[in-house]
């Protein structure tokens, strides 16, 4: 569409005392490059603009997704793979990818499709910076927010940092983090005195059963620990850097964060049981989310998040995943990369409209679903409405084709009643 040129400049001028902000038309600004000079835009006089140097305040970067690990560690952190599987467990290709840790981006690349699911470098940097700011000075700011929201009792103390060095922590690698976590859990459960941290950053656990191949390692964002007289209680926390906008915070994002926390609750319980500590250390049914304040680099804590159902979901999911993993072809970790990719490529797929949001191969599967007349391309509701009747056959019925069975007769009836 051809747009008209911008209309002649009619600069709106403040005419009251309230907005006494000196407007001057600006054509070029060193901060923002060239401007369209027909713009009804105002700038401060140059002397005012320069009075506060641009570099005087540079807010630290942040990101939507706090957990960032470099590629090797990322592959070992199986929470992402579990969530990937949980988004479409009916897809065999997705299950193979998740269980064997074969990135869909690589499979898509081998099929000539470029990945569109990557993370922004700014988001990654923002995540790291936000986490670092939370854990700075023995997590002083975070502790204050947790105490204010009742996650920790007032006057709590003790911080244990199990983050990897590359994330600003003191730990060498994930194996060391896991050993330190086990040691810490044992210490929590023992009657002896010693280190009793109330905030633990990045505790790392290995899920006992062999669900994920070759291992199932989970890096938890943080836990808060309460050493009350009744026993030790661990509360799982999840850090996200997207803004907490009260009741308008993205409900889908919140649901994802709760689901992740539920996985951690379940995993911690499994580990405590394996260590024989489940009598002395309990994991709370409620967790908390640490989000950022919009426009400010400060934490916003959402306490009392009910994670019972998410933990059950994780428990059920791991059982199902284990069963699915047993049915999969054997692929050793060191198998030929091409063979691993081929295994995903050759597996059956089950397109779902939600695939668009997480899978690099969604476009390929969508095209295949269109050709196959899979009603899922029009959404869950249409797929449910048509049942086992392919889209092409539904179109024929809409054009007046004779019904072949009772299901088709029922569909024709519903189509006629609904219009």
């Amino acid at each position: 569409m051809a747009l008209r040129p911008a209309p002649p400049v009619t600069l709106p001028s403040p005419c009251s005392s309230v907005l006494r902000y000196r407007p001057i038309p600006v054509r070029w600004c060193p901060y923002i490059g060239r401007l369209n000079h027909s713009t009804p835009i105002f700038a401060r006089a140059p002397d005012e603009a320069n009075a506060r140097s641009v570099s005087a305040f540079t807010r630290p970067v942040d990101s939507e997704h706090s957990t960032f690990l470099p590629s090797m560690d990322e592959k070992r952190d199986t929470r992402r793979r579990f969530e990937q599987w949980a988004r479409n467990p009916a897809c065999e290709a997705n299950t193979i990818s998740a269980v064997h840790g074969i990135p869909m981006a690589e499979v898509a690349h081998s099929e000539g499709v470029s990945s569109v699911m990557g993370q922004s470098p700014f988001a990654i940097a923002r995540g790291l910076t936000f986490e670092r700011s939370l854990f700075r000075n023995d997590a002083a700011e975070l502790r204050s927010a947790l105490e204010e929201n009742g996650v920790l009792p007032a006057g709590s103390h003790g911080f244990s940092d199990l983050r990897l060095r590359r994330n600003g922590g003191p730990i060498r690698d994930l194996d060391a983090a896991r050993e330190e976590t086990i040691e810490l859990l044992r210490m929590m459960g023992s009657e002896r005195g010693g280190l009793r941290p109330t905030i633990v950053a990045s505790p790392t656990v290995l899920i006992p059963s062999g669900v994920m191949l070759p291992e199932a390692l989970l890096v938890i964002d943080l836990i808060a620990v309460d050493y009350a007289a009744q026993g030790v209680k661990i509360t799982v926390g999840e850090i996200k850097t997207y803004p907490d906008r009260g009741g308008h915070t993205d409900s889908h994002e919140l649901a994802t964060a709760r689901a992740q926390s539920g996985v951690y609750v379940h995993a911690l319980r499994m580990v405590l049981r394996q260590l024989g500590l489940d009598d002395s250390v309990m994991v709370a049914d409620h967790g908390f989310l640490v989000l950022s304040r919009p426009g400010f680099n400060k934490p916003s804590v959402r306490a009392g998040e009910d994670l019972r159902y998410q933990a059950w979901r994780a428990q059920r999911g791991f059982v199902q995943l284990e069963a699915a993993a047993e049915r999969l072809p054997s692929l050793e970790n060191k198998a030929d990369p091409d063979r691993r990719i081929r295994a995903v490529h050759e597996a059956a797929t089950d397109y779902d409209s939600s695939c668009v949001s997480f899978c690099d191969r969604a476009q390929i599967c969508f095209r295949a679903a269109v050709e196959a007349g899979n009603p899922a391309i029009l959404g869950h509701d249409v797929a449910r409405f048509l049942g086992n009747i392919p889209l092409g056959r539904a179109m024929e019925l809409m054009e007046g084709a004779d019904c072949r069975d009772a299901a088709e007769e029922d569909l024709v009836r519903r189509l006629s009643e609904g219009t």
Binding site: R59, A125, S292, F296
Partner: protein
């Protein structure tokens, strides 16, 4: 999604194109002077804009951008430059175009945004600037005004039936049924490709899939940030720290990328506006009622407070927090106000839209049938017509004692007395005519409700407009002299009710009944 929507989507796939939804257009498109188009982009992870495109309907945009979106000062300067455009458009009292009251007859001013993520950006701006004191006090005042406006625009965007804040993608989804799943329909480019491509289904689908590769949200495609912007921003930061002359050149390069992205979002929004504006369907007559309601909301929820503030008489003016109302009465009042808006929207639009009537009947909220018999059970000279209506058996949310009105004659209200299933499989409904028994005086074509000649006519009964009751409730909930008010009207206190200073509301409290209009 109801079965009627599912079936429409199937029809749309069958027809190989988007199908018009409803027989009238429900979204008014303002003229160029009254419609402002705004598109944002942000740096991933940030809540404030990195750049913004703003312009009138049909005009080229003005583009503002900063080289470093993490620099709070730079962003604040940019938003202070944007503020006059938005404030003047919405007739802020600091600008010459004065609004005198809620009945100001001029058209409603609109802001069009590409999709819902851009509407959310208004909320982020309200958070950032409503109470800011950062930097120069003059700039802070402008930003405060911008924050308050954005806060109201965001709140208004949540009200059903509002016509001031329009997401282009939502408007298209509302006006057409697309042969695609809900997730894909969030993308404005995808929707436009379906509407604009004049070819067969495969080509339309290919165009739509091509279009959805380009991000339309406020967040840029990560590949663009990674490949085109990351190094440039880094170089700009280095040059800026060292005071190098290269800073301007680097800023220009960054702005070039952001301008391209902004222009894409802006142009697509303009195209969506023209598609809706050029649609051959008539604009629903009821839209005038929605505009009237929008003017009242604009006045009572935004402008009157701005005018009081502009009077500068020293009296405190309540500024709501972008975080929460923190007042049970205020929350209850707005709940009823929104419920009333939804009732009002349905009631005024459905009378002039056959497809919408069909949708309501398919959903079971109304019914259509033949009047089998008419009898008058009146006494002492007062008529009490009772109609027996035969209607196809389908799931109904209508129950005995439900109030319905006659399509095309909204003031003629009926109370359902009974609903029975006949042996023939049809429903037999007895309904008593409560209002407008004689018919409107100005119309001679409407028969008396007790006229036996009505037997044999097909009548459509729709939910009656209860917006008035809900509006009155929205005012009555402010009443504090009631039993239990100490509990229901208590304002939250204690540590958990404490808001951070940057978002705490100013003033004595919400505006009260006036604000609940």
């Amino acid at each position: 999604m109801g079965s009627d929507l599912v079936i429409r989507r199937l029809h749309s796939w069958h027809e190989r194109r988007p199908l018009p939804r409803y027989s009238t257009i429900h979204i008014p498109v303002a003229k160029s002077v009254d419609a402002l188009v705004v598109a944002f982009v942000r740096m991933a992870g940030e809540s404030a804009p990195w750049g913004v495109a703003v312009g009138r309907r049909g005009a080229k945009p003005d583009i503002l951008a900063v080289p470093e979106a993490r620099n709070r000062d730079l962003v604040a300067d940019m938003m202070a430059k944007l503020a006059p455009s938005l404030l003047a458009h919405f007739r802020h009292p600091a600008y010459p175009d004065v609004v005198t009251g809620p009945d100001d007859p001029r058209p409603v001013r609109q802001i069009w945004l590409p999709n819902e993520s851009h509407v959310d950006m208004l909320h982020a701006l309200a958070y950032a600037y409503t109470f800011t004191r950062w930097g120069d006090s003059g700039r802070a005042q402008v930003l405060n005004a911008l924050g308050r406006l954005c806060g109201w625009l965001f709140r208004e965007a949540q009200r059903p039936g509002q016509v001031a804040v329009i997401s282009a993608a939502s408007a298209l989804r509302y006006a057409y049924t697309f042969p695609a799943d809900d997730l894909r329909q969030a993308h404005l480019g995808f929707l436009l490709a379906w509407v604009e491509t004049r070819a067969n289904r495969d080509e339309r689908l290919a165009a739509a899939m091509q279009a959805e590769q380009h991000s339309m949200s406020i967040t840029l495609d990560p590949a663009i940030e990674r490949n085109e912007l990351e190094s440039r921003v880094e170089r700009w930061n280095d040059a800026n720290k060292s005071g190098s002359a290269a800073v301007a050149a680097e800023a220009a390069r960054i702005e070039q990328v952001l301008s391209r992205e902004l222009l894409h979002r802006y142009t697509l929004t303009q195209r969506a506006i023209e598609i809706i504006s050029n649609d051959s369907r008539p604009v629903n007559v009821g839209v005038q009622q929605l505009e009237k309601e929008a003017r009242r909301e604009y006045w009572f929820q935004y402008l009157s407070a701005e005018q009081r503030r502009d009077d500068n008489d020293g009296k405190p003016v309540f500024t709501p927090s972008p975080e929460t109302d923190r007042d049970a009465a205020a929350a209850a009042s707005r709940f009823y106000a929104h419920a009333a808006s939804e009732e009002h929207r349905l009631a005024v639009l459905v009378q002039h839209d056959d497809d919408m009537q069909n949708e309501i009947i398919a959903a079971g909220h109304g019914l259509r049938g033949e009047i089998i018999s008419v009898r008058d059970e009146g006494y002492a000279g007062k008529a009490m017509p009772v109609w027996v209506i035969r209607s196809p058996d389908r799931p109904l949310s209508v129950r005995p004692d439900s109030k319905l009105c006659v399509a095309g004659l909204p003031d003629r209200e009926l109370r359902i007395r009974s609903i029975a299933r006949e042996e023939s499989g049809m429903l037999s409904i007895q309904a008593e005519v409560m209002n407008l028994v004689r018919g409107p005086r100005a119309r001679t074509d409407v028969r008396h409700a007790a006229d036996p000649r009505l037997a044999g006519t097909i009548v459509t009964l729709l939910p009656s407009n209860t917006a008035g009751i809900l509006s009155r409730k929205s005012q009555k909930v402010w009443e504090r002299s009631i039993p239990g008010a100490w509990l229901t009207h208590a304002r939250p206190r204690g540590a958990r009710a404490k808001l951070p200073e940057e978002v705490v509301e100013h003033g004595e409290g919400p505006a009260g009944p006036e604000g609940a209009q």
